[in-house]
């Protein structure tokens, strides 16, 4: 606003036109940059619904590039939080312990790992080099359960409590989109996205 006021305050139409033109160019340029990535959104319905929270929607195959990042999964109230964490191959997950009791994190899936026993406020990390689903277990508390979904690409997301998901900044193209669930299955689908647009896909999970 201050920029526009300054322009209006000059009283010179030529300068005003130039300023408006420059602003418009700036806006178009920034809009184009945002539009380069598309969005895929939708909803998953599960029968029975009680398994819905253990669902991840993802694009299959190698898509784009991804700089390794670090995510975290906490242990609090003798639960893994979040219950389902979606990361990308190459990412590191830091396991925290905000409980007052010792925990252990291990997974028997894929290459398997055991991070040993760690005390309250202590954390351990694990770098996921392979795509797949890793069940997170605590040998001290067998009722504890979590899942880490390691995608081949960064385009994966756990659903919310209503089954909604959003994959952001997807490069334009045609992809196979799939859904993982701890108990249920759904057929894969094909989705085509164009720059700046939002594509909607829905899934029905069942036995």
């Amino acid at each position: 606003m201050r920029f526009l006021e300054k322009v209006r305050g000059s009283g010179q139409r030529k300068n005003l036109r130039s300023a408006v033109l420059a602003f418009a160019c700036l806006a178009v340029a920034s809009g184009a940059a945002l539009a380069a990535g598309a969005t895929v959104t939708g909803k998953v319905v599960a029968t029975p619904a009680k398994y819905l929270e253990e669902t991840v929607v993802y694009l299959k195959g190698e898509v784009g590039s991804h700089a390794p990042a670090t995510a975290s999964m906490d242990q609090k109230g003798m639960k893994f939080i979040p219950h389902v964490l979606a990361v990308t191959k190459g990412d590191t997950v830091q396991f925290l312990n905000h409980d007052g009791v010792a925990h252990n994190v291990y997974s028997p899936d894929n290459e398997g790992y055991n991070l040993g026993s760690f005390k309250p406020e202590e954390s351990r990390s694990y770098a996921f080099k392979s795509a797949g689903v890793y069940t997170q277990l605590c040998s001290v508390h067998p009722e504890m359960l979590g899942f880490i979904f390691v995608g081949e690409n960064p385009y994966s997301a756990a659903v919310d409590h209503e089954g909604r998901f959003t994959l952001k900044d997807v490069p334009p193209g045609t992809y196979t989109i799939a859904v993982w669930n701890s108990h249920l299955k759904a057929a894969e689908k094909t989705v085509t996205v164009t720059a700046g647009a939002t594509a909607e896909v829905s899934f029905t999970l069942q036995r």
Binding site: P48, P108, P142, L145, H183
Partner: protein
């Protein structure tokens, strides 16, 4: 064993009186096997499995037959909170991890009570005589209390238990674990371990509107003087049974149990059963098999044939405290025909006991039974039941007892029911201990005398469970 002993014939009249409660209980469904613990587990109504409990509809029969599991994956249908005793992923760690299971979030118990008011319009009847000629007997209005436990350890292993208290005594009626789906083909091989009723039919052991047992029990040695527990086809015993359903149409069972013995002896009781269902809902209710009209979950058109063999070896005490061994071979079968809301059950079995009498002689018994019912409304089912008992002792007189029960079972609420029933009985002679041990009320004066047909009792049964 084998010693001669006296049987004062008139003692059976006294015993008939003592056993009158047992006899009266024939008239209405005694044991309420509708188990609210299951209703809580699945968050579903009793009516999912029952018409007027304990009578099961086709889905309820399949649930029972499957070892108390829903078709498909049982846990998919569980709405009750569960405590995870490990996770599925722990299976990959076995044997370095305990195989996972679940614990019901709430205590998986249910309670129930039942009994009946007994009326004797004919005060000269055997039923009235056994009740001191009381016109109205409210002593048994609530006669039994039940404590049930039912649930699952996981998607394949389940448990069922029942404690019954009556007249100041408590009996462990049922306590068993069911290991289901032991081979890849679902329901093809289940194993039950513990105390339970042997599977001799495709249908539940309490699935009747007017009787505790669709297969009328006949305790032959009790009728000829046994003072200890007398073996019969319907009793619950400790044992092991393999059973299953093949292709949703054929079911079978093979088992062995401890039987009834006053002293410990090696297992000598074996049985087998096979049944086949034509039409209607599959025996396992798998593959979406369901009744044609969802508003009538009891109604189907089907025909089921059953046959069984049961060999028992029982050691019992006689009134003179002598110990007797008796081996019984029993063959039987039944037919259930269903045409929409109309159901007809008929069956019979013949048993031969080699040492059922005081003389050590054999006794042959023939038991026939039938029940016709029609579901008028989901809560109202009139029924007619007929039972026929025939005993032919070697060297003795053949005696028979014919009973007819006409009644109606009604739900006031899905877990609160009333039954009204009238028992008419005709007896041609009686065994030495009278018909009381076989739930009969007619009391002929001697072995060759005939009584009836006479109206023995009218009962108003009350049962509730929660």
């Amino acid at each position: 064993m084998g010693g001669q002993r006296a049987h004062p014939f008139n003692t059976w009249v006294v015993r008939a009186g003592v056993l009158s409660i047992v006899a009266v209980l024939l008239v209405s469904a005694r044991s309420a096997l509708g188990v609210p613990a299951f209703a809580r587990k699945y968050g579903t109504s009793c009516l999912t499995c029952h018409t007027v409990y304990p009578k099961l509809n086709p889905f309820g029969e399949a649930f029972r037959r499957n070892g108390f599991l829903f078709p498909g994956v049982d846990s998919d249908y569980v709405k009750q909170e569960t405590v995870a005793l490990g996770q599925d992923a722990n299976k990959k760690e076995f044997p370095n991890s305990v195989w996972p299971g679940t614990l019901p979030g709430g205590v998986p118990l249910a309670v129930g009570f039942n009994g009946e008011a007994v009326f004797h319009p004919n005060k000269g009847s055997g039923g009235a005589m056994a009740d001191n000629q009381a016109g109205v007997n409210l002593n048994d209005l609530v006669a039994e209390g039940h404590l049930w436990a039912a649930g699952s350890f996981d998607d394949h292993i389940t448990f069922f238990g029942e404690l019954t208290t009556s007249e100041g005594s408590t009996e462990l009626e049922l306590a068993n674990v069911r290991f289901n789906d032991l081979i890849k083909s679902a329901h093809a091989l289940d194993v039950a371990v513990g105390k339970f009723a042997p599977t001799l039919s495709s249908f539940a052991p309490h699935s009747s509107y007017l009787s505790d047992s669709p297969i009328t029990p006949l305790s032959v040695t009790a009728l000829y003087g046994a003072t200890s527990d007398s073996w019969n086809v319907g009793n619950n015993y400790n044992g092991v049974e393999a059973n299953g359903t093949l292709h949703g149409r054929l079911d079978y069972s093979v088992g062995a149990n401890a039987g009834s013995n006053v002293e410990v002896q090696s297992v000598g009781d074996y049985y087998a059963h096979v049944g086949y269902k034509f039409g209607g809902v599959r025996l396992d209710a798998e593959k979406g098999s369901a009744v044609p009209d969802p508003k009538k979950p009891w109604a189907e058109t089907a025909l089921t044939l059953d046959a069984f063999y049961y060999r028992s070896s029982s050691r019992f005490a006689a009134s003179d405290e002598s110990i007797w061994d008796d081996v019984a071979s029993t063959f039987g079968g039944g037919v259930r025909a269903q045409w929409s809301s109309l159901e007809v059950d008929v069956g019979a079995y013949q048993e031969r006991h080699d040492h059922a009498q005081a003389s050590g002689d054999a006794v042959r018994g023939l038991t026939g039974f039938g029940e016709v019912s029609y579901v008028v409304y989901p809560w109202l089912v009139p029924a007619l039941r007929v039972e026929y008992l025939k005993l032919s002792p070697d060297g003795g007189t053949t005696v028979t007892d014919l009973r007819m029960v006409a009644g109606v079972a009604a739900l006031i609420r899905p877990n609160l029911k009333l039954t009204l029933a009238a028992l008419v009985e005709r007896a041609n002679g009686a065994p030495p201990d009278g018909w009381g041990p076989a739930s009969g009320m007619a009391a002929p004066a001697n072995a060759t005398d005939s009584v009836g047909p006479e109206l023995e009792a009218v009962t108003l049964g009350l049962a509730f469970a929660f």
